[in-house]
Amino acid sequence: MNAVIAAPRRHYLNVNYGLKSWLLTTDHKRIAWLYLIGVTFFFFIGGFFATLIRLELLTPQGDLVQAETYNKLFTMHGVTMIFFFLIPSIPAVLGNFLIPIMIGARDLAFPRLNLASWYIYMLGGLFTLAAAAAGGVDTGWTFYTPYSSIYSNTHVALTVVGIFVTGFSSILTGLNFIVTVHTMRAPGMTWFRLPLFVWAHYATSIIFILGTPVIAITLTLVALERLFHLGIFNPELGGDPLLFQHLFWFYSHPAVYIMILPGMGVISELIACFSRKRVFGYSFVAFSSLGIAVLSFLVWGHHMFVSGQSVYASMIFSLLSMLVAIPSAIKVFNWTATLYKGSISFDAPMLYSLGFIGLFTIGGLTGVFLASLGVDVHVHDTYFVIAHFHYIMVGSAVMAYLGGIHFWWPKMTGRKYPEPLARLAAIIIFLGFNLTFFPQFVLGYLGMPRRYHVYPPEFQVLNVMSSAGASILAVGYLLPLIYLIWSLRYGAVAGMNPWKAKGLEWEIPSPPPTDNFETTPLVTQEAYAYGVADAQAVYPSGEPANV
C-alpha cells in the first residue's frame, strides 16, 4: 500500500461526477448542497430588494422609486427572505447534512422524498420569481384580505401558489426529520444522548408539519377568491376581515420559531465546542425547544391586538405570549452558564455565537414589549416591530446560520476557510447589523409606521443611520460568499476533527463517505462528552470509520 500512490479516498463528493449525479442524488449530504445553492441564491435576491428599500429611505420624499414599486420591493423582500431563505436555511442545509450523521444513520428515512422536497422548493421559488418578473406583488408578505383578495392589481395568485408549493417542501422535510429521529437512531443513541441540534430540529419539524398546512389552505383560499370569485373573506358579503388574520398568524407566528429554533440548536453545538464544555442544563435546553414549539401555536393573537380582536382574546394571547419568553430565557442563561469555567477560543463560529446570544437577548426582550398589551398598541405596525423581528431573524437566525456554515464547513468540504478573514466578516456583520436596526427601535417608538414610502422629514437622520449600517452589513455578507468559494479549492485540508469537537459527525472522515458510517456506531456516551477521556462511540467492527 505504501509503495504505490494511494488512490484518493472515496467520499460523497467524489463518488461520482456530473450534473446528473447531483440532480438525481438521494444522498442527504448532496441534497444539503443543492439547498445551500438555492437558499444562497434567494438570500442575495432578497438582499437586493433590501438594498433598494434602504436606498429609497435615505430621503423622506420618496424620490428614488414610485410608491407602487416600493410596495413591491418590501413585499418581495419579505416573501423571498422568509419563505425561500430563512425557513429552509438551517433545517434544509445543515439539518439535512447533519441529522442522519448525528444520530448514527446512513441517510434520512425517505431519501427520494428528500430530493423531491428540494425540487418542490425550487418549483415554488420559480413561481415566485415568475411573479416578480411579471411585475411583482404589492400586498406585503402578510397578504391581508380584503386588500390581497379583491383590491390589489398585482400578481397575488402566482405568488401565493409559489408559497403554497414551497410549503409542501417544508412539510415533507419536517416529516422526514421526525420519522428519521424516531426510527433510525443508532444503537445506544437514546433521546437524552441526542445533540441539542437534533432536539431543536425535531421541535422545528413539529411546527413544519402542523403549521404549514394552515397557511397552505389559507393562501389557497385567497387564490381561489381571486381566480374564481369565491367569497370566503369578502366583507361585501359579510366576510370577517379578521378570519384571514387568525389563519395567517396561526402559521406565521410559529414560523418565526421555525427560523429561530434551528439556530438555537446550532448555537448549542458551537458554544459547547468552543468552550469545551457540556451544555449547561442539557435537559432544560432540550425541553425548552419542545416547549417553544408547543407554546408558539398559542400566541398568534398578539399580532392582532389593535385589529378589532376581542379584548378578552387579546388578554389570553398576551398572557400566553409572556409564557413563551420563558423557554427562550432558559436557553440564554444556560448558554451563558456553559461558558463558566470553560476553555473558550474565539474562532469565527464562536464569534457568531456570542453575537447571537447578545442580539437574541435584545430581540427577545423587545418581544416582551410587543406582547405587553399597553405598549404594543403604540408600537404595533411601526419600525419598532421591524427592528424587533430583524434582531430575531437576522441578528439571531442568520448569525447562527453563518456560524453553523463556518463550523461544519470543514466537514462538508474537507477544507478550512481562512480564519482571519472569517473573524473580520463576523465583526463587520455584528457592527453593521446593530447600526442598521438599532435606530429602528427609536424610529418605531417615535411612531414611524412600517411600509411607508414617504415619511415625515424629522425621521430622516435615523433612517440615514440605518441605511449606512445596511451598506456595512452588505459588505459583511459578501465576504464569506467570496472566501468560502475560494476555500473550496485553496483552503487547507481540514482533517477529521479540526475543532477537536465531540459528536458522531467528528468521528468520520471529512468529507464523509456516502453511507456516513462503515459500520453502525454503538453510542455509549452522552452528547458533549468534553473533558471525558477518549469519549467516542464504539464501532463494532473495531475501527472507527476513519481511514
Binding site: 391581508y144 469545551r276 457540556r278 451563558t336 399597553g374 398598541v377 417615535l446 411612531g447 424629522e458
Partner: protein, 318 residues
C-alpha cells in the same frame, strides 16, 4: 431633554401617553438590566476562561437544578407583572367614558373623513378640544386601515363591514401626526393627516365658524324619513317593527332564544343585513339597505337613533 436636531422621543399629548411611557420605561429598564447582565457575563467569562493552551480540558459541569428553577421563576414573575400592567392599561383604552365627544371616521383608499356630531366634516384633519375625552366610531369603505396618533399612544384598525372604536383625551394643544399604520395599498404612506388639538374655547369658536350642514342626527333623521324607515319603526312598539327609542345599550331578545346588547355594530348590521338578527316577536320583513345608503349615511342614521332617548320619545312623530 437634550436635542440632537432630531427627535428621539415622541410628544406626550394625551392622558394615556404618560401611562404608556411609564410601562415602556419599566420594560426598557428590565431590558437594559438583563441585556447588560448577559453581556457582562459573556465578556467576563470570555476573558477569564479564554483558552490558554490547546490541550486544555475543563472539568464538565452537568447543570444545577436550583439555578434552573431560579432563572425560570424570575422571568416568569417579571413577565406576569408586565402582563398585568399592560392588560390594565389596555382595558382602559377600551372603556370610553360616557361623556365622550363622539366623532365618526370613515377611511378609504387613501384618505380619512371625519364627521362631527354638529355636522362639520373634515378630510385628513381632525379638530378636537383638549381636556375632553373623544370617542371615534370608525369604519372603512374598502380595505383595512389603521388610525394611529403617535403623540396620543393610541392606534386601532379600521375595518370594512364593522365599526371599531377608539378613545383618547388630548392633554396639550398642538398639531400632531395622524398615520394610517395598516398597509392599505399604493398610497398607504400618503394616507396621513393631522390632529389639531385646540383649547376648548378655541374649539367652540372653530365649530361655530364652519359652515355646518346641519347636525349628524338631523341628517340622519332626514334619511330615516326618506328611506321609509319611519313607516314601520314607530316610537312605541305598535308598529310592524320594534321601536328604536332608547335602543343603544339595551339588551334585545332575538329570535331563537339568544339575546344581544344593542351596540353600534348591531344597528349597522340591522340596516345592511336586517335578517341576520331579528328581534323576537317580529317578522323578518325588513329589506336590506345595502347599496342604498353610504357608510356616512349609516353613521348619520346611527346618530339619529342614538338621539332617541326614552324621555324625548315625543320627538319621533309620524
Amino acid at each position: 431633554m437634550p436635542t440632537l436636531g432630531f427627535p428621539l422621543f415622541p410628544d406626550q399629548a394625551s392622558t394615556m401617553a404618560g401611562r404608556v411611557d411609564q410601562l415602556y420605561f419599566f420594560l426598557l429598564g428590565l431590558s437594559v438590566f438583563f441585556a447588560g447582565l448577559i453581556c457582562i457575563l459573556i465578556i467576563v467569562f470570555a476573558v477569564k476562561y479564554r483558552r490558554r493552551s490547546d490541550d486544555e480540558q475543563p472539568q464538565p459541569i452537568p447543570g444545577n437544578l436550583g439555578l434552573e428553577i431560579f432563572w425560570t421563576l424570575v422571568p416568569l414573575g417579571l413577565t406576569l407583572v408586565v402582563f398585568v400592567w399592560g392588560a390594565r392599561l389596555f382595558f382602559v383604552t377600551y372603556y370610553p367614558p360616557n361623556d365622550a365627544l363622539e366623532i365618526n371616521v370613515v377611511a378609504k383608499q387613501w384618505m380619512w373623513k371625519a364627521q362631527h356630531p354638529e355636522g362639520h366634516s373634515e378630510i385628513n384633519e381632525l379638530h378636537i378640544p383638549s381636556g375632553k375625552p373623544v370617542k371615534l366610531v370608525m369604519t372603512s369603505q374598502d380595505v383595512i386601515h389603521d388610525f394611529f396618533v403617535p403623540a396620543f399612544r393610541v392606534k386601532k384598525d379600521v375595518l370594512p363591514g364593522r365599526y371599531t372604536t377608539l378613545w383618547f383625551e388630548a392633554s396639550k394643544p398642538g398639531s400632531y401626526h395622524l398615520f394610517c399604520s395598516q398597509y392599505c395599498g399604493t398610497q398607504h404612506s400618503g394616507m396621513v393627516g393631522r390632529i389639531v388639538v385646540m383649547e376648548p374655547t378655541a374649539f367652540q369658536a372653530w365649530l361655530s365658524g364652519g359652515a355646518a350642514g346641519g347636525s349628524m342626527a338631523s341628517a340622519g333623521e332626514k334619511l330615516f324619513r326618506s328611506l321609509g324607515c319611519v313607516s314601520c319603526h314607530l316610537p312605541n312598539d305598535a308598529g310592524r317593527a320594534p321601536s328604536l327609542v332608547g335602543l343603544l345599550g339595551k339588551t334585545v331578545a332575538l329570535q331563537g332564544g339568544r339575546s344581544i346588547v344593542a351596540d353600534e355594530n348591531y344597528v349597522r348590521e340591522s340596516i345592511l343585513e336586517p335578517n341576520a338578527k331579528v328581534v323576537a316577536g317580529y317578522q323578518p320583513i325588513m329589506p336590506t339597505f345595502k347599496g342604498l345608503v353610504s357608510e356616512e349615511g349609516v353613521m348619520q342614521i346611527l346618530a339619529y337613533v342614538k338621539s332617541l332617548k326614552r324621555e324625548e320619545g315625543a320627538q319621533v312623530k309620524k
